[in-house]
Symmetry: D2
Subunit: 163 residues, 4 copies
């Protein structure tokens, strides 16, 4: 028996697309279903988009919605896709909520729709840590996993670090 996993989508680099008319990046639909299809994912995953925002634009109310959605979800194992700029902040909010569930935040350095994205790798990683780790909040990026209350993004290098 495989435990089902809930994926909450919040937007972030992961889901950005190129607008042919304006030449700007924007959000349309989430790519999660397409990514799970490409991954031939054999675990029961249900995807729900909570918002589609750049994480720099995420408000306290948005962050509360993420926390409450994780709390009220039927599943005990959850992945949250999130922009990298404030991922650590949302991780701390989730950690503070003491949900008693395994929640893994992940994202991408490059949009999935672009040729050279790390998104599919990070999604595989997050779904795996979500299955294997005990209750708690984690950030899974580029192969590493960090405790949700002790992680930050190094603004200069773009790399996540413990701290």
């Amino acid at each position: 028996m495989v435990e089902p996993i809930r994926v909450f989508v919040t937007g972030g680099t992961f889901d950005k697309e190129y607008d042919e008319l304006t030449g700007r990046l924007f959000f349309k639909d989430t790519h999660l279903p397409e990514m799970l299809r490409l991954a031939r994912c054999r675990i029961p995953v249900s995807v729900r988009a909570l918002m589609m925002v750049d994480s720099l634009d995420m408000t306290d109310a948005d962050r509360r919605l993420v926390v409450e959605s994780c709390r009220s979800a039927a599943e005990g194992r959850i992945v949250v896709t999130h922009g990298t700029d404030t991922m650590a902040e949302t991780a701390r909010a989730l950690h503070a909520a003491s949900l008693g569930k395994t929640v893994v935040l992940t994202g991408a350095m490059v949009p999935y729709a672009f040729g050279s994205s790390d998104g599919l790798f990070n999604l595989g990683s997050a779904l795996s840590f979500a299955q294997a780790l005990p209750p708690g909040v984690y950030v899974a990026m580029n192969g590493r996993v960090f405790p949700g209350d002790r992680v930050r993004k190094n603004k200069e290098s773009g790399i996540f670090e413990e701290g």
Copy 2:
């Protein structure tokens, strides 16, 4: 501190390429370094190609080489890339060797060099399970993880199952 991971490459669908002259699939170099670069992988991973074979052509001697390479590796956490057809057989051989290490076998349903491969997802998954799971042998494919001594590939559906 992040524990280093050893990746042993054996070939399989993962690494197949298209030969423009003959129109056939063949092996050249492993794509692992390129995949780790795309993944912006931040864990110390050292890759070593043991062989480049279709897993249907893997001999008992090949399988012994995989087991002995895992045994003598300095690392306690190992990922083995492998063709899917006999991945379960190699997993059983590794299980029988009782190495006391975490060994995760993975592969792909479609070559990484092709547009629609599950390879990058599976690699992210395998590297994550290799970090999170206790010593033992596992097969990580398409989001799921199986104990190395109780897994088989369903020949008709192409899907891995417990059993």
Copy 3:
């Protein structure tokens, strides 16, 4: 006013796909509609699959069907997608038929479904030569264009040459 172009699909490397169950290359549907969508093609193109075969398996009857389809098409400008191995042979058959139309054969060294295909480039090239060249039969591959009665594929290098 833009003259409409007819595209006849015959299969070839262009349209080969990877069978996940058998690990072999095979034909399913043509990728032409998807390629034209990606190209954001703004000329009226109507696609018709005549057959889906490896060009080494193309019979005299198949070749007659290609010639007769070109003859009876309403359009005066035609692109034929074709396997590279016997493309020159079909070009000569079309040349011998003296159709009084502009017919451009093209194909790919690597299947479109794979990451590194020349297919989209060749399609752009063939549709352009089909618009710009006077009636006659031509082979357009990898940027070059050859007269249909004086072209051959160099078996060793895989490159098309005049001769």
Copy 4:
């Protein structure tokens, strides 16, 4: 004998990349050499980057450099890669210069580095029209070709039109 083609790069959507640190699009190196390799291009092409700019930022001096570079090039057949927003303006400047050469401007609706670009198709098209058309200035986009003095980009639809 195949006549050599000169490609002048000016930037534009074609060559935009994603900056992982800032999340913005920017210019680094041109992708033309990589695209020609993927195309397995068999015509002698020499690439020279004149500038790497968004065509909305192109000045009169930039435009004069494009015209003079085309004039002084040894080749009689030239492709210019260009942003779409002011491609028609540069085409008119080249037309007014009466160079007596075949000059084809092309670009892309989506950056080549992104998964869903029309760039490779347009490059194949431009290199083909550059070989087949008589001296004059042309715009080749998405399968169509327009005379350089009678073309404009429809700002609302993003599509090039005669006029």
